[in-house]
């Protein structure tokens, strides 16, 4: 029986978090969480493989306790179980440390995995780094930006578009893939399924201790990158403001920038405005 793993992340519902320009704070509490879209497509790819070849799907996420929601949603869609890695020490991890933590959890929970699915990127950070780094960390084959795949025995055949090249690739299991949202269309979780997922299926919680990870190798402490400064970009240009009716602003635009405009188009403008033309 195939053992599939889907790594998923909870992201804010809006990609643009509300930002209070007076206090300079992010209003994170205003943003509801959802399953990262690319992760949902990755789950769909896993579900289709399971349907065709049989298998068992484990959904894994590292995040705050609230992230349990997306695991239950994954179960409602058809995953067999959820594993939540949550620990205050894990907070603030960069991609290097996130992939390290995920890899140790996969080795503990499902050491004989066949295929790990990730989203190609998250909608909030879009680093697209965790998947490829997970392949390195687990020491198995890995391919990023997969659009479509099929399984023949223990060989995976994949297609992807990469920098204007259409590539067909193959690898033997086990491996790690990251999926783009281009081909697979995620199914909806039924209401009954959701209810069951919340009432019946257990989600396993794992802390750093459970994974035998020391505080030194996880979270912000272990991350090689440091954020020095976060700021709101203010573009200050001395510009012209034009106000008024559409007709008026357009006239003013032609008066001031008509030459530049006609130069860029490469066509002459009539010197008289069209009011006169109508009079002719």
């Amino acid at each position: 029986m195939f053992k599939f793993i889907v790594c998923m992340k909870q992201v804010p519902m809006v990609s643009e978090l509300p930002w209070d320009s007076r206090t300079g704070r992010l209003q994170r509490e205003l943003a509801e969480g959802m399953m990262n879209p690319a992760c949902k497509h990755a789950l769909e790819a896993a579900l289709q493989l399971k349907h065709r070849h049989g298998g068992r799907i484990t959904a894994i996420t590292m995040g705050p306790p609230m992230a349990e929601e997306i695991l239950r949603e994954a179960v409602a869609m058809g995953a067999d179980r959820g594993v939540l890695l949550t620990d205050p020490h894990m907070a603030g991890a960069d991609t290097l440390v996130t992939s390290h933590t995920l890899a140790r959890a996969i080795e503990k929970e499902c050491p004989d995995f066949d295929l790990v699915f990730c989203g190609c990127h998250t909608s909030d950070s879009e680093t697209a780094q965790v998947g490829p780094q997970l392949a390195e960390e687990l020491g198995v084959a890995g391919v990023a930006y997969v659009e479509q795949l099929e399984l023949n025995g223990r060989t995976v055949r994949m297609q992807r578009e990469s920098d204007d090249f259409l590539e067909t690739l193959e690898m033997d299991l086990p491996g790690v893939l990251t999926l783009t949202p281009h081909y697979y269309v995620p199914r909806y979780a039924s209401l009954v399924g959701l209810q069951d997922a919340f009432e019946q299926v257990g989600v396993d919680l794992l802390s750093a201790d459970d994974l035998k990870l020391s505080a030194k190798e996880i979270g912000i402490k272990a991350s090689p990158t440091r954020i020095l400064n976060v700021f709101s970009p203010v573009a200050g240009k001395t510009n012209i403001t034009i106000k008024g009716s559409a007709k008026k602003v357009v006239d003013e635009l032609f008066n001031r920038f008509g030459d530049q405009l006609s130069g860029a188009i490469g066509k002459d403008f009539k010197t008289h405005d069209h009011d006169e033309q109508i009079n002719e």
């Binding site: 804010p12 290097l96 032609f254 403008f269």
Partner: protein, 333 residues
């Protein structure tokens, strides 16, 4: 190691036009940064019969080029390039590695960073050196509103990826001299676990947006797909191309090809008309090279209005229609 002159490496990505351009852009920027840490700018090129690129990289600022030229490198392979980079880095210890944020670069860099146990910042829109000699990596954070400055203080090398179009390449310098270091393909390189079955170059898309002299760009403020269509009429009169922001592309008012921004195209028109766009950093990072920006927005305080040369406070649809009328009346065919 201590008596070695530090170096900034640029990964030579050359497989298509834009991949090669971003390499040249990174060389130019590396050349700006280099004096601040008294470093040499080096390029690294893997491939088969790549002399042309080696010469080009020297002409664009590299003083040293590491080359592995071997038939087995004819087509791009992520694992092999990661393996080769890892070996070269461990032998020469660059301070900084810059990679173009192409699809290939975005798969190569995280794997390399993992091998080297170092940090990597994706999609930087600014790179600088601070007083401690560290690379300040400026990149968008938390969605569209903020920029974060990140450093990699302890581990080396410091790594960053940069989207094509973020920096400007230098003119070709025919006099430039550089050292070319040929390295033999190591015989003991691990065999790639992933096999390339087929690789086909897709028909070259004309880079319409990137080359257009006038771009008409629409945002969510256009209101609907039907209203957005007006922009095509305007564009036709102006001989312009139509661009869009991400919400517009996600709502399928126009295809993904029209996306302007970090995740899409970088443009440099003489005139950019921007209708109903708020000016999020992921969008504006790709329009800085526009010579004249004319923005139309109901909200005079929108970021886009602050970065525009001409800020028109009005309804985007109405201004679009008025412009169409006016142009029809004025253009002398």
């Amino acid at each position: 190691m201590s008596n070695l002159k530090p170096s900034i490496w640029v990964y030579g990505d050359y497989r298509n036009y834009f991949q090669n351009r971003v390499t040249l852009q990174l060389l130019a920027h590396a050349k700006d940064l280099a004096p601040k840490i008294e470093a040499d700018v080096c390029a690294v090129v893997f491939g088969y019969q790549v002399d042309e690129y080696v010469g080009e990289y020297i002409a664009h600022g590299a003083v040293k080029v590491y080359v592995v030229d071997d038939k087995s490198l004819t087509s791009y392979c992520t694992e092999t390039h990661v393996n080769l980079m890892e070996r070269l880095v461990c032998a020469h210890h660059p301070e900084i590695i810059l990679v173009g944020a192409t699809d290939f670069g975005r798969e190569l860099s995280p794997r390399l960073a993992k091998r080297l146990r170092t940090g990597l910042t994706a999609d930087c829109i600014g790179l600088n050196i601070n007083d401690d000699g560290l690379l300040i990596q400026t990149a968008p954070a938390f969605g569209g509103n903020l920029l974060a400055e990140t450093v990699t203080p302890v581990t080396k090398p410091q790594m960053a990826t940069v989207r094509p179009g973020t920096f400007q390449e230098l003119p070709h310098d025919y006099e430039a001299q550089g050292d070319i270091l040929h390295i033999a393909m190591p015989p003991d390189l691990p065999r790639p676990k992933v096999r390339m079955i087929n690789c086909k170059r897709l028909p070259q898309r004309r880079q319409r947006l990137e080359e257009a002299k006038i771009v008409v760009c629409g945002g969510r403020g256009m209101g609907s797909k039907v209203k957005f269509k007006k922009l095509f009429e305007l564009a036709q009169l102006l001989d312009a191309e139509v661009g869009a922001t991400r919400p517009v592309v996600y709502s399928k008012w126009i295809g993904h090809d029209a996306l302007v921004g970090q995740a899409g195209k970088h443009i440099n028109p003489q005139i950019l008309f921007s209708f109903g766009t708020s000016g999020a950093i992921q969008h504006t990072a790709a329009i800085h090279d526009a010579e004249l920006i004319i923005a139309v927005n109901k909200n005079p305080d929108a970021t886009m209005m602050k970065m525009a040369d001409v800020a028109i406070v009005a309804d985007a649809n109405q201004v679009c229609s008025a412009l169409i009328r006016e142009l029809k009346a004025r253009i002398r065919e």
